[in-house]
Symmetry: C2
Subunit: 767 residues, 2 copies
């Protein structure tokens, strides 16, 4: 755990350069706009520890699978997010010394991410080995207003030096992915060229053939007077605009760099160059200040809906804004071909872009804080991949249109290669069906079933119907050999969560079939025919629903994580020695597997999803059994615990859990923020507040709140976008105030009361 | 399955060159002498499919582990048997054409392995692209008489050609392991030199620093007259003696190559060169014919004890001799640092050299066919590795001197890296304890306990005592998260075999403690002190013995392979479609795991080991349940089934199983003989005959036989070396004849009779 980032409600501030934490700060200070993003690297060269990273939406590379022991069914490759052209780079020589903070004496230093406005800036004063004193001010952003444009402003004043200086403002494609399996570079030789005052660098990915071109227009001023470039420098996959001058002490330079980005993911191959150059030109004529102001307005619009205010706890305030900020940078929901990568645009670890995290943890955030189309695009993403999911299932021996969605994917094909996960963590299929339910419950858009949803539900139901087998010993349907959400148990039998969601999928699909049949008979017929579906298939489904085995302990009154859970030594986490934690670094894998310790919510994940099926007493018994055995070694674990703890009135436990999630990256809780941020778990933090402390649910097509504020919070405020209405919620320990910021009448439930809220009306209720 | 090898009682004959099967034939025709070995490659260059392989005992390379997803506890490397200097190579140019069977027209061809004499030879007549007709005769062997010497004789006559020819008789160290994880070469740059007429090539392994030096003295005759070398040719890690001549059509050449091998595994580093050169010189002055005759005498001695004769089934006869031949080539038992590699000296797949195969399958062969010291060395090998096994266990969280022997090892350190095997296939520890029991039961050498055995038994017992946990739910001790001998189930709970052998280890250790205490009180104290062992530890062991959970089905009257075995779909193998087999190539891993299908004997392995603990009716019920569910996709599976089938009177089933094992490699049953032979399963075939059809056991310190001959065999004869007595057994369908070929009186049991056999006496019993 680190503690060097200053607490501030709207900013991430590194005061004084923390060299040893540089990669962490780079991750924290990442900027992006849903179409591209980059880590908070320095513009000038830096020879110390750094992960230079610039990422572009939709561009990936299928890296040849690396595995010790091949298992039949493994994918040939792992699709990886690509580190691409570095556009922010400046190489500055002052005399014979390169401007490099790693080799300079640092007099003062501030790096600051302004989350309100989406700006990364830095101020520092340094002395170079040759005695030159340099004062640097820099700022940059990826435009939210025009998402193929980025810009930076870099100013520096040189004192105590006279002589020659060089400034190279470059575009560099000679980039390697840090996690390349076989130390290959993924970009082929680039084409570089310059046109008028614009440099252009375009490369193509190996195998996938994605083309990406960046154009940069640099404007350089010496003591406020624009100067002309001296040279264009070309090297391997590299091009720069070079300025060469003799200067006197006290000279100031200001460089603006206007970037146009153009990729074949969005444009015709032949048009990339013209488009990028046009964008860079336009940006340059718009000018830095206006570009920035347009960008800031877009951020204001986003914050207007998605902000959460916490009074009385600046650390929590900073934490939740940090999470919301990065979620908004990662996914804007305009393109159903994109999804939410585990590291977003902040790093390259774990490759892929889509895990079940999207459906289970991220969807609610986008449902409540953005246009409904955004969440819908996350659903359509999976519908677009349906055929590949059917193909994937058929590789594993399933047939007749059964689908198994991949554990990790970019383009719909499975990337992962650990049999116990790839082949066995099949509950992910359930989350994909649940997301359809969750979306419709929230939006009321039940037409989605006929549109796309039912195709997916049928294929998933078919999977489950084939995946069960009938146990003669138990006289029940069982699901053998699975890994549940708790990945600290592998290849178990009858994981309760998996079995529960499996039959839920069957039931929901049967309901959906009925609904569409009643609602739109023609479309229904079309769906049956498209999916070669015979309604008789549901007879078998009903048998399975009726006779599914759901392990439980009558004695303890709990559901069992899996059949043999109670054979384990049941000592709780509190009896572990400090040196045993974290288990995943201290214990061998077999020891973890046979232990009772739980990585992340498993039975509790099911109680969270299907809360209404269980009494509070039941939820409490299970929570009290499983929570003390949970080590929360997944960033996705605490949020579910917060929500349930709030539900059953364990406020202290809820707040304790919340602290583990909200500042996970800001405090580098898991010692891995240097690899990038935990984007998907950020959505879990949002849920902790809104569904946990806010107690928000959708019940019978209405918003519902049952708040329980942490003791040290004075006030919690947020807005919720619900079916085209914006609701402003303010919660204190004694009251909840609701403002209807829309033109519609709203029916809202608070605990056990139902209230009417007219347009622009505010109502306050005592708690 | 292939069928191109001619059936012959003593020979492996390839008649006509089978190009597509060349790598298979190379494996089959491997020669060796326990200290070195090589595949049946051609001496001259061959540009077609071939795995050039020469292997030297004890020399390995720790190849950096290759794994997709690292698990805590994985070893850093996989120790691999090294492909080393090629000593048999000849490069022959006839005019501008290289002698290369891949580019020649083949008129006639015979490759032949003479198993009686340990000789590989070849005759062929070919026409080269330039029209030259060449008749080749070659023969070679690795001397069993002097195990650091090898020799070859290569003769060829050139017709229809006049002009220049070159003969290079070389030593080549520019060798790569086919299975190198990162395409590295494992040998550093070699030193080559020539001294008088001898060439010498010495290289050192990277990391491990093993040095290996080979000296070659070549003698070349042209039409029977010795000729002098023209040149010494030196290239990368390569040296050759070159002969260059102008010839007329009809010229005959004969090359003898005498090889001396010297490795730092056996000699001081500084002495390698002198030793290898001395050996090559001596061999050359001894001459090829005398070297060969000495070698043949050694083989005769081996066959005298170890041969099995089967009358009436030449395929079975060839099969069993092939297996005995290769077992004798692989391990001669003179050095306790060596063990039996899965491929012996016939290939490099699976690296490592020691699996539990040694104890479970190989030991009985060496016990019965060689001096008792040979089997004892296999036990001492493990005793030498005890500290490393304790270290290995401590990496996995065990303490206080508990040992877990590695799954795969060369030097005592674990090499394997699949968690479900490395960490969970812990029953291997049981086999290592069982081997001590088995050795003492056979030899009567119970002093071994005090000497070395008890150290190992204590450490293994401690492991089991820590590995169990008490299940409150079952009120029993359980062993969770294991992989049994059937590797088609992973991470199961309470594998019956594992649990059974675990408590057996505890019991046997308690017995052994009592025995040594009574027999040698001083040594006993020493052992307690060396192992910091307090006899009170056994109190807990007795609790575990008393309360161990051994899953069984009362209804079916069988032991359960693991707790949840009966939840599986129980359809037998006979209901699988042909296209589903072999499962390991056709099904994804999860599907195999949740299926009922068994890779190799598991419960049945336990019934085989502990036969006397169970009634025949019980064994029969289990056999009849598990056998129909077994796919035998391990080469180690059928032998146990043969032995049990014979025991319970299912002769037809026994013979059916036997056919799957005896000609596994000769017929390339599993399509992988090209990688090398299945050495350890060969010992299983031997067991099938002697313990299966011969019904041999040791009961109360006496040999016991209960034969049941396959219907189509007229006679089965073999010798058994039992406690310094040699017994010659001949079995027909109606009688068994026993001859005591020693000077001791022998007590032998046949079925239910006990008989005396005086020295040199023959007795015949009707069956």
């Amino acid at each position: 755990m680190k503690n060097y980032i200053q607490k501030h409600p709207w900013k991430v501030i590194e005061q004084g350069f923390h060299k040893d934490e540089n990669k962490i700060t780079e991750s924290l200070c990442s900027i992006g706009n849903g179409k591209m993003g980059m880590r908070g690297n320095f513009e000038e060269s830096y020879s110390g520890e750094s992960l230079q990273g610039s990422y572009y939406a939709g561009i990936y590379y299928p890296d040849k699978t690396k595995v010790g022991w091949w298992k039949n069914g493994y994918p040939e490759y792992f699709a990886k997010v690509l580190n691409g052209c570095n556009w922010s780079g400046l190489k500055i020589m002052i005399g014979d010394c390169e401007l490099d903070l790693n080799k300079a004496e640092i007099k003062s230093f501030t790096r600051e991410l302004d989350m309100m406005n989406g700006l990364l800036s830095r101020n520092c004063i340094i002395t170079l080995p040759n005695g030159a004193e340099v004062e640097i001010t820099s700022q940059r952003f990826c435009s939210m207003h025009q998402d193929e444009i980025a810009a930076l402003e870099y100013s520096f004043t040189v004192n105590n030096f006279k002589g020659k200086i060089f400034i190279d403002s470059y575009l560099d494609f000679d980039i390697e992915n840090e996690d390349s399996n076989y130390d290959e570079k993924f970009w082929n030789e680039s084409k570089v060229l310059n046109e008028e005052e614009i440099i252009y660098n375009q490369a193509v990915t190996k195998k996938t053939g994605f083309e990406l071109g960046l154009a940069a227009k640099s404007v350089c001023k010496k003591d406020s007077a624009e100067i002309q470039a001296s040279n264009i420098v070309i090297a391997t996959k590299y091009i720069s605009t070079q300025y060469e001058l003799e200067i006197q002490s006290g000279t100031n330079f200001q460089i603006n760099k206007f970037i146009g980005v153009s990729s074949s993911f969005y444009h015709q191959h032949g048009e990339l160059k013209a488009n990028a150059i046009k964008l860079a030109k336009e940006a340059s004529s718009t000018g830095y200040d206006l570009l920035k102001s347009n960008h800031e307005h877009c951020w204001q619009d986003k914050w207007n809906i998605s902000d959460i205010e916490i009074d009385g706890d600046v650390g929590a305030q900073q934490g939740i804004r940090f999470n919301i900020f990065h979620l908004n940078q990662t996914y804007t929901g305009q393109d159903a071909r994109l999804n939410i990568g585990p590291k977003g645009f902040t790093g390259e670890k774990y490759g892929g872009s889509t895990y079940w995290d999207t459906e289970a943890y991220c969807l609610p955030f986008y449902l409540s804080t953005a246009n409904q189309k955004v969440a819908k695009n996350l659903l359509i993403y999976r519908h677009n991949h349906l055929n590949k999911a059917i193909e994937n299932a058929s590789k594993l021996g399933f047939k007749d249109g059964a689908a198994l969605y991949p554990m990790v994917t970019i383009n719909g094909e499975e990337c992962h290669n650990e049999w116990e996960i790839t082949f066995e963590e099949i509950h992910r299929n359930g989350a994909i069906a649940y997301a359809i339910f969750d979306y419709i419950r929230y939006t009321g858009d039940d037409k989605y079933l006929a549109e796309h949803g039912l195709d997916v539900l049928i294929a998933i139901a078919r999977f489950w119907a084939q995946r069960v087998n009938y146990s003669e010993a138990k006289k029940k349907y069982v699901i053998l050999g699975v890994t549940g959400p708790n990945e600290y148990e592998n290849n178990v039998n009858n994981n309760w969560y998996t079995n529960y969601i499996a039959v839920w999928c069957l039931k929901y699909c049967i309901d959906a079939l009925k609904h569409v049949k009643a609602d739109d008979a023609n479309r229904f017929k079309e769906i049956l025919s498209n999916n070669q579906f015979d309604e008789k298939e549901t007879e078998n489904w009903n048998e399975i629903i009726k006779h599914i085995h759901l392990p439980k302990s009558e004695e303890l009154g709990i559901y069992l994580q899996q059949d043999n859970f109670l054979d384990k030594d049941q000592s709780p986490v509190s009896e572990l020695r400090g040196e045993d934690l974290p288990l995943n670094q201290k214990w061998s894998w077999d020891r973890i597997l046979r232990s009772v310790y739980i990585k992340q919510a498993d039975v509790l994940q099911g109680l969270y999803f299907f809360e209404e099926d269980f009494s509070h007493a039941e939820i409490k018994r299970n929570f009290e059994y499983y929570e003390p055995r949970t080590v929360h070694e997944s960033s996705l674990s605490p949020c579910v615990h917060v929500i349930l703890a709030c539900l059953i009135g364990m406020e202290d436990k809820a707040y304790e859990m919340y602290l583990r999630t909200s500042r996970l990256d800001l405090d580098d809780y898991n010692n891995d923020t240097e690899d990038g941020l935990h984007i998907t778990s950020m959505a879990g933090t949002w849920m902790s507040i809104v569904k946990g402390f806010g107690g928000m649910r959708i019940k019978e097509n209405k918003l519902y709140f049952n708040p329980s504020l942490p003791k040290n919070w004075e006030k919690l405020s947020f807005r919720i976008n619900f079916r085209d209405s914006l609701v402003n919620i303010k919660i204190t320990s004694t009251e909840i105030s609701l403002k209807n910021e829309s033109n519609n009448n709203l029916q809202i439930s608070i605990v056990d009361q139902s209230i009417n809220l007219n347009p622009n009306e505010i109502k306050v209720y005592n708690l």
